[in-house]
């Protein structure tokens, strides 16, 4: 016989489970997004190069979203893992094998390998300290890549990267046809994984940490272990983004480790909105479109307008894109099963920082 208390507990567990399941469900907007992304491969064959770039940016931003949007770690050093992933896959293709999937794996490992020790440095201190530590790590790696020119080519960049055809059949062509399809599939898989992770109890515990680390540790969440885990995961993501960059461009310059890269990634994410995974994707698209439009107007000074946009964006409030997407999403999907559990719904309202 169950006691009353046990019954109540199991009822609560049931309710929580169904709420979580509902949060993990695909919305129509998401499905539409992916249909469009796939359709772009068929309909816009001339734009595949830029689309590939967008996808890579999106993965970088996705990796930042995992730490910033979910765990609340402000980082300005994601380029560290991105760049190391890029160099790792580039060096692998030169010295060992040009097989692209191996390259991705190695880059993910390399990114995680950098992120794991770094994450321990992030456990102490507040936003500013974290900002400085991530920035510092990226700067050290940038300097190492610059000095070790026998390995990385230094300021001249790493040349002579040759990537084998994907699965032995699909050659990486100069129009980016293979590149776009390949990157898009990788992005999709990574997003699926991120979706799974963030909709899991692990993901919810991250949000708890983000919103109030002290209280989170009071209810028994191992705060430090969770932060280390998510930062390492995000490092692997960033490494994969770097590897995709290497494999589709077949050239690496020191820029992959630069502050600019980290700042761009952060900007992309913020344009799209943090804490719902699609922010990076939407942001990357918007960022490239804005950059494209601006640089065709003022090729040399487009950063000026980018800066102005950024300021306007922050001043008017950066929740706007997210709200827009939410309202569209709400309009598209029919209300299902109104009532019962809405009160329990763990709304993701809090500002993710």
């Amino acid at each position: 016989m169950m006691s009353v208390r046990e019954k109540r507990q199991s009822a609560t567990a049931e309710a929580v489970r169904s709420v979580m399941k509902r949060h993990g469900r695909w919305s129509r907007l998401e499905i539409g997004f992916w249909l469009i992304a796939v359709a772009a491969w068929f309909l816009l064959p001339g734009e595949h190069l830029i689309l590939t770039e967008i996808v890579i940016f999106a993965i970088l931003a996705l990796s930042i979203d995992l730490v910033l949007g979910y765990a609340g770690i402000v980082t300005l050093g994601q380029a560290a893992m991105y760049g190391v992933g890029a160099y790792a896959s580039g060096l692998l293709s030169i010295h060992v094998t040009g097989e692209p999937l191996t390259g991705l794996l190695v880059a993910a490992l390399a990114g995680a390998l950098i992120a794991f020790p770094t994450s321990f440095l992030l456990l102490r201190g507040a936003d500013l300290t974290r900002l400085m530590v991530t920035l510092g790590v990226a700067a050290v790696l940038h300097e190492i890549a610059n000095q070790a020119s026998w390995l990385t080519g230094g300021a001249d960049g790493l040349q002579g990267i040759a990537i084998d055809p994907l699965f032995g059949t699909f050659e990486f062509d100069i129009y980016g046809h293979t590149g776009y399809a390949y990157s898009l599939v990788v992005l999709f898989i990574l997003l699926l994984l991120a979706r799974f992770v963030t909709a899991s109890p692990f993901g919810y515990s991250l949000k708890a940490i983000r919103d109030n680390p002290l209280r989170a540790s009071a209810v028994g969440i191992p705060v430090k272990a969770r932060l280390v885990a998510v930062y390492t995961l995000s490092g692997a993501y960033a490494g994969i983004a770097g590897a995709l960059f290497t494999q589709t461009q077949q050239f690496i310059s020191l820029d992959v480790l630069s502050f600019q890269k980290s700042a761009d990634g952060l900007m992309v994410l913020v344009i799209g909105g943090t804490g719902y995974l699609y922010g990076g994707l939407v942001g990357a698209l918007a960022y490239e479109l804005i950059q494209d439009a601006l640089s065709s107007v003022t090729p040399q000074y487009w950063q000026f307008w980018l800066g102005a946009l950024l300021i306007a964006f922050v001043i008017t409030g950066r929740d706007r894109p997210r709200q827009l997407i939410n309202s569209i999403s709400a309009r598209i999907s029919r209300p299902r099963q109104p009532g019962r559990l809405d009160a329990v719904t763990v709304a993701d309202k809090g500002k993710p920082t």
């Binding site: 530590v133 001043i315 500002k351």
Partner: protein
């Protein structure tokens, strides 16, 4: 060796003047302002323009550089910064990065991307020798000017009514407002003075640090290091931190050039890991 130490000292003093404004905004007001270098750059360009194109004496351009950037800083504070005091750190970071982009591209457009060279007056050039140490006249000048500034700042903060009002506003904004301190005005004035000091530092440093449109990005890390390593409890922390940083940087680049670029970052990460609130902070 001693010459190098002196160079490092001069460099460190310069860094102090450049970053003490940031120590106040970031350290005391808790506003992450990555655009601090933009004000320094503005000061540098004011000085270079006036001495090279219009022939204004160098020494006269220094106070002008201070005034111009202070006014610019004050206006920006009133227009934009003051809206961001209560926002999250992420917002502040993004906002100030945006400002840096604008400054870099704007200066590039107005002045061109080449390095600007400052024509120093003759009496500040050359070297002299004291007790076997070769000292550059300009470096000695820097040490004196920056040292005086540091002392003046510490006195203002610690012993004037304005200083105590500022400290009160920082410690508890609401209570300070409650006892009749006009917190907004205090913050605006402080911000303007901080920007002005950055401008002055940029003007003084145009000769040593070099001046081109990427200045705010290149030196952003240095400023942040000074503040985060130095802590914020007084002006002494940033001063010691900037001198340490200057000496370490100069010596490092001279003796182990291949490691030169790393040293500051390694020191930074090490200090932050061991003392997350800076070397000289009050216990948090």
């Amino acid at each position: 060796m001693l010459t190098l130490l002196f160079d490092g000292l001069a460099y460190g003093m310069l860094l102090f003047v450049l970053s003490c404004g940031l120590a106040v905004t970031l350290g005391l007001m808790n506003f992450i302002n990555l655009a601090h270098g933009a004000f320094a750059m503005a000061g540098g360009y004011v000085t270079v323009l006036m001495t090279n194109r219009w022939g204004v004496p160098f020494l006269l351009t220094l106070p002008i550089a201070f005034m111009v950037t202070a006014i610019a800083g004050g206006l920006l504070e009133k227009a934009l910064y003051c809206r961001l005091y209560d926002k999250t750190h992420l917002d502040q970071v993004l906002f100030s990065i945006g400002l840096v982009f604008i400054a870099v591209a704007g200066v590039d457009y107005l002045m061109g991307s080449q390095q600007q060279i400052l024509n120093l007056p003759d009496f500040l050039r050359g070297r002299f020798t004291v007790g076997g140490i070769g000292i550059g006249v300009y470096r000695a000048f820097l040490v004196v000017v920056c040292g005086l500034l540091a002392i003046a700042l510490q006195l203002i903060l610690a012993h004037t009514r304005f200083g105590s009002r500022l400290r009160a506003s920082v410690d508890d904004r609401r209570v300070a407002r409650g006892v009749g301190i006009r917190v907004n005005v205090i913050f605006a004035v402080t911000f303007a003075i901080g920007s002005g000091l950055a401008g002055l530092g940029g003007a003084l440093g145009a000769e040593i640090l070099g001046l081109d449109p990427t200045f705010p990005l290149k030196f952003m890390v240095y400023f942040l290091i000074v503040v985060s390593v130095g802590g914020t409890s007084s002006m002494t922390g940033p001063l010691v931190a900037s001198i340490l940083l200057g000496v370490a940087d100069v010596l490092g680049k001279y003796y182990v050039p291949s490691l030169g670029g790393f040293i500051i970052y390694i020191v930074l990460v090490a200090v932050l890991v061991l003392r997350p609130h800076g070397l000289f902070s009050r216990a948090a």
